[in-house]
């Protein structure tokens, strides 16, 4: 089967800090792949490298058959990869509506259907439509960040810790949304600290430790794996 995304032997560094060491992984069409790992393992770095925000020092990233390793971010977005970055990163002094419009920056067609979808999924965003994004609560900002990323109608969605700092109820809402997107056929890469939640939606799982893939496999199998159970599920 052809992979939507394949990361081949990718390394990346911040100056002399080597944050990724020859990482390889792939995502098949319609698959939800989770990446878990401790703080500082390199998960966000991997997301940045895929989106072209940080250059890979070696290795290749392929997306739908093209080598996108050296592409600028805007071209990667145009090709269909959207990212919800770690820590939401909404445009704090733009309104909620303008944040959504920014998500559709490259689109030339009517964006109203996607705005409607966002408001249906998260009704609170419609209420706060004209409010500055910076004045939203953390959870509301997370909903906005997710909706904003979906405005580009991506084919591959990268989610970097969408549950960070959310109340259990909101975590559930966010994961329900991820599950629904997955069921609708979107390919997803989900970075999570919350391994239990990640395992509940993901088809496959990679464990990243100090910049390297330590384990990989089917979500159900890894749930039984003693290493995952001990370290990441804390059972």
């Amino acid at each position: 089967m052809e992979h939507v995304l394949s990361v081949e032997q990718v390394s990346a560094a911040y100056g002399s800090i080597r944050a990724l060491k020859e990482v390889s992984l792939h995502v098949d069409r319609g698959e939800c792949v989770a990446i878990i790992g401790a703080n500082g393992a390199g998960k966000s770095t991997l997301m940045k490298v895929i989106s072209g925000l940080l250059p890979a020092s070696s290795g290749t990233i392929r997306y739908e058959g093209s080598d996108i390793t050296k592409w600028p971010t805007h071209k990667i977005v145009a090709a269909g990869i959207a990212q919800v970055p770690e820590g939401r990163q909404v445009f704090s002094e733009l309104s909620v509506l303008d944040n959504l419009k920014m998500g559709a920056y490259q689109r030339k067609d009517d964006i109203q259907p996607e705005i409607d979808t966002a408001f249906q999924t998260f009704p609170i965003l419609e209420k706060r439509m004209h409010q500055m994004a910076g004045s939203l609560s953390g959870g509301e900002q997370q909903m906005l960040a997710m909706s904003r990323a979906l405005m580009s109608k991506p084919k591959l969605l990268l989610l970097d810790e969408p549950s960070m700092g959310l109340s259990p109820l909101l975590v559930k809402t966010v994961f329900d949304t991820v599950r629904r997107l997955h069921e609708s056929g979107l390919s997803i890469v989900l970075v999570e600290q919350n391994a239990r939640m990640a395992l509940s939606v993901a088809d496959r799982l990679y464990v990243l430790a100090t910049g390297q893939i330590e384990l990989e496999g089917n979500a159900e199998e890894l749930q039984q794996d003693p290493r995952v159970r001990d370290i990441y599920l804390g059972i």
């Binding site: 925000l53 971010t73 445009f91 002094e93 920014m102």
Partner: protein, 291 residues
């Protein structure tokens, strides 16, 4: 009282042009995170283009102004490409030093091309002095003030209502998030510098009949632009307008009621007073000022 009103209008007229220049300086500051030291010199080059087209070639003003804007925007884009772009990924200090270098190069190039003397620039808004009661109004001043206000409104509309304007705001708030939305940074960079140079050219043309055109005209005006930016609050759009108008007013009123000899010093006094009371500028947010 009448004299006071007249001087205020004179000050606001000057101030509106400082405001336009400061807005141009601030869009570069907030979108690129860089203090564009050469802003005054870019204005000077624009004024010389206008001098060539309007005076030397005798083209009608409505042709001369757009031509000057186009030429000066091209000059700015070439500078961006050759001097600034290679440094974006390096330290900000290097970029600041580079803009200082560009400022010197522009001044020297202008001296080579146009010489070191001052050139008179005929008024582009002729008309008899208007009397309203005891107040005498120079039409040119009112026109310039009007042009300033229209430009501010247009810029505001552009930033709030257009896709590109919104993208520029997004870039200034969060650069990497804007990239993740698919904003092409190179395009936004060029639009930012282009707009800034275009606005500087217009301000240069408006100021030319008042201050004359000469190769170092950008030095004192450039200094006032930076003072306006800091007084209003670095990067703030309303701050640029407030700062520019205040600097113009202080300069005109000080020149009238104290002495014209120290005309250049009054804005500096304003700067000190503001910095001592509100280091982030009148409308600025508390944030470490990156220079």
């Amino acid at each position: 009282m009448n004299l006071f009103l007249q001087i205020c209008i004179q000050g606001l007229m000057l101030g509106s042009m400082y405001a336009i220049l400061t807005l141009g300086y601030n869009i570069i500051y907030s979108t690129m995170g860089m203090a564009h030291y050469a802003q005054g010199d870019i204005m000077m080059v624009g004024a010389f283009f206008a001098l060539d087209f309007f005076v030397t070639m005798d083209l009608p003003i409505y042709v001369a102004i757009p031509l000057s804007v186009i030429c000066n925007v091209l000059v700015m884009l070439v500078i961006e490409r050759l001097a600034y772009r290679p440094l974006y990924s390096r330290s900000r200090t290097l970029l600041l030093l580079c803009t200082i270098g560009v400022s010197t190069v522009l001044r020297n190039a202008a001296q080579l091309i146009w010489g070191t003397q001052s050139f008179n620039f005929p008024t582009i808004f002729p008309g008899d002095i208007i009397h309203i009661g005891e107040v005498y109004l120079v039409p040119q001043n009112l026109w310039i003030l009007g042009v300033g206000v229209v430009m501010m409104l247009l810029l505001n509309l552009f930033m709030k209502k257009t896709k590109v304007g919104r993208a520029m705001q997004a870039v200034s708030m969060n650069r990497s998030a804007a990239a993740l939305m698919g904003v092409n940074m190179q395009t936004i960079t060029m639009i930012t510098y282009g707009m800034s140079a275009g606005m500087a050219t217009l301000a240069g043309v408006m100021l030319a009949p008042i201050v004359k055109v000469y190769s170092t005209m950008g030095v004192s005006i450039g200094a006032k632009v930076m003072i306006s930016a800091v007084v209003g609050g670095m990067g703030s759009m309303p701050g640029a307008i407030l700062g520019g108008l205040l600097v113009g007013l202080v300069e005109a009123l000080g020149g009238m009621y104290i002495s014209t000899t120290f005309k250049e010093a009054y804005p500096v006094v304003l700067l000190l007073v503001v910095l001592l009371n509100r280091p982030q500028g009148i409308l600025g947010r508390k944030k470490v000022v990156k220079v």
